[in-house]
């Protein structure tokens, strides 16, 4: 028998097999997922752009095409000021968060500050809590009239007026700065810890002193991390709704987010104008994130080395107690005082700015937690229930999506992979409130509007990139040959995914799931746009109470949310070790 006939017999494959060979488990699964991701990410943004060019007529019924919404952005009485206020708040909180973040990272990674191992987890606590709750706490602590500190100042020091007042833009800057300091901290502490000590040692051997080494070697190496952290804080602050809503909006300082909110659901609702404002906010954040992703992130030199270095520790001498005081001071103002204050307030029937021991009661918890209590508040009890459903379902779906998406990006090369990689960065560029506006205008006329589904969609669209990043980082660390050898052993693509890829990615999947679970439990700025009666979430419940009920009920639900979040963080850290939950 000759090769020729053998070959020809074998090549009698029908033309249909050419197409059949394209339809494999892998191509089908990845095509479906890419379509889902593309639809989830592109559709809301596209509809948002389109609606920003639709102008509501004065009657409020019909729309026409036009640029009037954008004209309103600078002719309106409030919006231009809100724009300026947003920039002021962003700049201020970026400065504060960067200062705290860098200083704390340095103290924890590089000095012999006493008790730093114990304090480290607490430095991260604000990251897991809701800034909105932080604002409520600080309002009760140092608000203009109601603040506990101010009433003590009047009672014990005989002062007139207020000692400090956080009910203004400075208060917003202060609270957001404190709560976002961990973002900078996380960006910087990693590179400080993992920096090869010989980089600094070799500078010292050339004759550079401690300060000079810090300025010429350490700082430049950490600078990309600091800058990345600062940009993330700026962008996150620009999209922060709860803090300005609580601290500045009621006293006349609007920001873009509070304005978008009132245009989306307020009395003078105009979702088309809201779309245009979202566009304005989105353009700023996208631009900054684009700069961070394409110019700054690639310059972080030291984050990739996997080697376990023992970084140089600087002996602070007597100054170590100053460092200790600084770090415990941060934990005091960012964690301990706010939580204590909320607990105190929540135990009073009515908050009169002073502690009245014989009035203490748990009734506020009964009304916000026990849905069977006759005088329970539905918005609060629904919120707890809905948030757990959303967090569980959202984290699970988002991680399943992340898994397939990461697989496609890192294991299948080509145009589709690069497009998907891009699509996964896009939602990070937009504040939750902007994505939520996009989802709102896209689905307002569909049956999913006013259900939990629209919230789920908003959550996943905005936050699945966080989970995807967790999976991707693990996937990059494990060799592709581990998958390939399973295929060679005779396992199909799906079997390989189930028996090899997923088990190997388990730490990344778990870490991502937990992070999303916690983010979803405290989410406010998407929920506030997309909720309706019956689909309140935990944070919306807090919003409802602060808006329509009183301070003490608000404090009770805030304490509840904080307790749930802290318990989750504690449990997950116990399960997964301290490496988990550090983004």
């Amino acid at each position: 028998m000759s090769t020729q006939t053998l070959t020809e017999n074998a090549l009698q494959a029908p033309a249909a097999s050419r197409w059949r060979s394209l339809i494999t488990q892998e191509t089908v699964a990845t095509a479906v997922v890419s379509l889902i991701v593309a639809a989830a990410v592109v559709l809301p943004l596209l509809v948002l752009v389109i609606s920003s060019f639709r102008v509501l007529d004065p009657g409020g019924f019909d729309t026409t095409w036009g640029l009037d919404n954008y004209r309103t952005l600078y002719t309106d009485r409030v919006i231009p000021k809100a724009f300026v206020n947003t920039l002021i708040v962003c700049a201020g909180s970026t400065v504060i968060a960067t200062f705290f973040g860098v200083a704390l990272a340095w103290i924890n990674a590089r000095t012999n500050c006493p008790g730093r191992q114990r304090m480290e987890p607490f430095n991260l606590v604000p990251f897991f809590l809701s800034p909105f709750v932080g604002a409520i706490a600080w309002h009760n602590l140092a608000g203009g009239k109601v603040g506990l500190i101010n009433s003590w100042g009047r009672d014990f020091l005989g002062m007139q007026g207020n000692l400090i007042n956080v009910d203004n833009l400075y208060g917003v800057i202060w609270v957001t700065g404190l709560f976002f300091a961990p973002l900078v901290y996380l960006f910087v502490v990693g590179s400080l810890r993992r920096m090869d000590p010989s980089l600094e040692d070799s500078a010292r051997t050339t004759g550079a002193g401690l300060v000079r080494t810090a300025m010429t070697v350490t700082l430049p190496l950490v600078a990309p991390g600091i800058l990345s952290g600062a940009i993330i804080v700026f962008v996150t602050t620009a999209g922060e709704f709860g803090v300005p809503f609580k601290l500045s909006a009621p006293y006349g300082w609007q920001t873009l987010t509070t304005q978008i909110f009132s245009k989306a659901v307020g009395d003078d609702a105009n979702i088309y104008l809201g779309s245009a404002m979202s566009m304005a906010l989105g353009v700023i954040t996208v631009l900054l994130i684009w700069i961070q992703q394409s110019y700054i992130a690639p310059r972080s030199f030291t984050t990739v080395t996997g080697k376990g270095f023992r970084p140089n520790v600087i002996d602070l001498g007597r100054w170590k107690w100053a460092a200790f005081a600084f770090n415990s001071g941060f934990i005091l103002v960012a964690v301990v005082l706010p939580i204590l204050c909320l607990i105190v307030v929540s135990l009073h029937p009515v908050w009169q700015s002073r502690i009245i021991l014989h009035d203490l009661t748990l009734h506020n918890y009964v009304r916000t937690l026990f849905f069977w209590a006759p005088d329970h508040i539905a918005a609060a009890t629904n919120g707890i229930y809905n948030s757990f459903i959303l967090a569980f379902a959202g984290a699970t779906i988002a991680m399943a999506l992340s898994l397939v998406v990461s697989y496609m990006i890192h294991r299948t090369k080509g145009f589709g992979a690069r497009l998907l990689d891009f699509l996964c960065v896009v939602p990070v560029g937009f504040p939750g409130i902007v994505i939520a506006m996009g989802v709102l205008v896209t689905y307002i006329r569909t049956p999913i509007y006013a259900t939990l589904w629209i919230l789920l969609l908003g959550y996943i669209t905005r936050f699945f990139p966080y989970g995807q990043r967790n999976v991707s980082s693990v996937m990059l660390a494990i060799s592709e040959e581990l998958d390939q050898s399973s295929r060679m052993a005779g396992a199909s693509w799906f079997t390989t995914l189930r028996r090899i890829t997923i088990p190997l990615l388990k730490p990344g999947i778990f870490a991502g799931w937990v992070l999303l679970f916690i983010i979803f439990l405290r989410e406010l700025s998407i929920s506030i746009i997309l909720y309706s009666s019956g689909t309140e979430t935990l944070s919306v419940g807090v919003y409802y109470l602060t808006n329509y009920e009183n301070d003490t009920l608000t404090a009770a639900l805030s304490v509840t949310q904080t307790a749930i979040l802290l318990a989750c963080v504690y449990i997950f850290r116990r399960i997964a070790g301290r490496e988990a939950l550090t983004v």
């Binding site: 090769t3 050419r18 060979s21 399973s486 295929r487 060679m488 052993a489 396992a491 693509w493």
Partner: protein, 368 residues
């Protein structure tokens, strides 16, 4: 075609693979007889791994055909692409790719489980193959507890346990240290002999290729330069590239002036100043008046004290390094520096005048 030189067990015909604008593999064809051990040898980027991955089905190809044991595995022209898991090929990867979340036994049992082999048979076959590779005691260890050499053995066990039609090796020894590598070469070859599976081995290490292969295919820039037994490749390289890549060679540019009977001829070399003619063997495809390269292995150059027959090259010793069983010398001849290996009894010192004698049987004119 009764001789079967082209109808091998593995047939690769006209393989072409593009990576962007680069032709990673450019019209590569070869065949491997059943039971043979063939090595694809070349520097990184020569297309050897891409060829291997194409056979494995881990890459698609742009043109050509891959056939194993009469089954067409890949033929883009006809829309045929058998997915890797259906090819029944065992593969040993460069990183070993031992799954860290499983024990050694679980790793090795995996291909059998996938094939639905009953559990008692899996147990006995896993035990057999672990004994064969010398890991019987490590069966219950986690992959992460193994040393590099042990992971290598586990990877081999996993690749052969299902008795595949073909075994592929992708630089499996390159992550081991030198001593272990030398030991594993012999070991790998012994196991392959024992199980008798047709094997294709990819490496950039010429020593590895020489020790292990029945046949070597030398590749460069996506093309096959030469194929032959290790001895043929070493003794009769077809061009300067192969002769330089396999072992060490003195290469002098020249021009063929005569081609006679039995592949003998003469080459004129101008490198030493005055043109000198050398009697030599002429490689296939080299004709009179062709530009050619004279290739001489260092061990085939004799260094003498006297110019016995008057045809020796007169040179000066630049360097003589005693290596125990031989002396590695550099000898200047005009502006050319000869690399020669001499017997330690010939005592050469720096600055000595020596006469180099080339044996015409081991002097080769090859394509540039």
């Amino acid at each position: 075609m009764a001789t079967g030189t082209t109808a091998g067990y593995v047939e690769v015909q006209g393989l072409v693979k593009w990576f962007g604008a680069d032709r990673a593999v450019d019209d590569v064809s070869f065949s491997v007889p059943k039971g043979n051990f063939v090595t694809l040898l070349g520097p990184s980027g020569c297309g050897k791994t891409t060829t291997l991955m194409s056979i494995a089905g881990l890459h698609s190809i742009d043109a050509g055909q891959i056939r194993v044991g009469g089954t067409v595995y890949t033929a883009p022209k006809n829309g045929i692409f058998i997915p890797p898991e259906k090819r029944d090929i065992g593969m040993v990867f460069q990183s070993y790719a031992i799954w860290p979340h499983m024990t050694v036994a679980q790793n090795v049992a995996y291909p059998l489980e996938i094939r639905g082999v009953p559990q008692p048979e899996i147990d006995s076959r896993v035990a057999d193959v672990l004994r064969l590779v010398g890991l019987a005691e490590m069966a219950q260890k986690l992959a992460t507890q193994l040393s590099g050499g042990q992971q290598q053995r586990a990877a081999l066990a996993r690749a052969i346990v299902s008795r595949p039609r073909l075994l592929l090796f992708d630089e499996p020894l390159s992550n081991l240290d030198l001593k272990l590598r030398e030991q594993m070469r012999v070991e790998l070859k012994r196991i392959q002999n024992e199980v008798g599976i047709t094997s294709i081995y990819v490496t950039h290490d010429q020593a590895e290729a020489l020790v292990m292969s029945d046949e070597i295919i030398v590749m460069s820039k996506g093309r096959i330069q030469q194929r032959g037994t290790p001895h043929e490749i070493y003794a009769r390289p077809v061009n300067a590239y192969v002769s330089n890549f396999i072992g060490v060679a003195n290469l002098l540019k020249g021009r063929v002036v005569a081609v006679g009977e039995g592949g003998r001829g003469r080459i004129e070399v101008a490198q030493g100043g005055e043109p000198v003619q050398f009697p030599c063997r002429i490689a296939d495809g080299v004709r009179v008046d062709d530009e050619a390269v004279l290739s001489v292995r260092p061990e085939n150059v004799q260094a003498r004290r006297e110019n016995g027959d008057g045809r020796c090259l007169e040179g000066e010793v630049l360097q003589a390094i005693f290596l125990g069983n031989c002396v590695d010398c550099r000898v200047r001849w005009g502006d050319f520096e000869w690399k020669i290996l001499t017997h330690p009894r010939v005592r050469l010192n720096r600055g000595d005048k020596v006469y180099l004698h080339l044996d015409p049987d081991h002097t080769l004119a090859v394509q540039p």
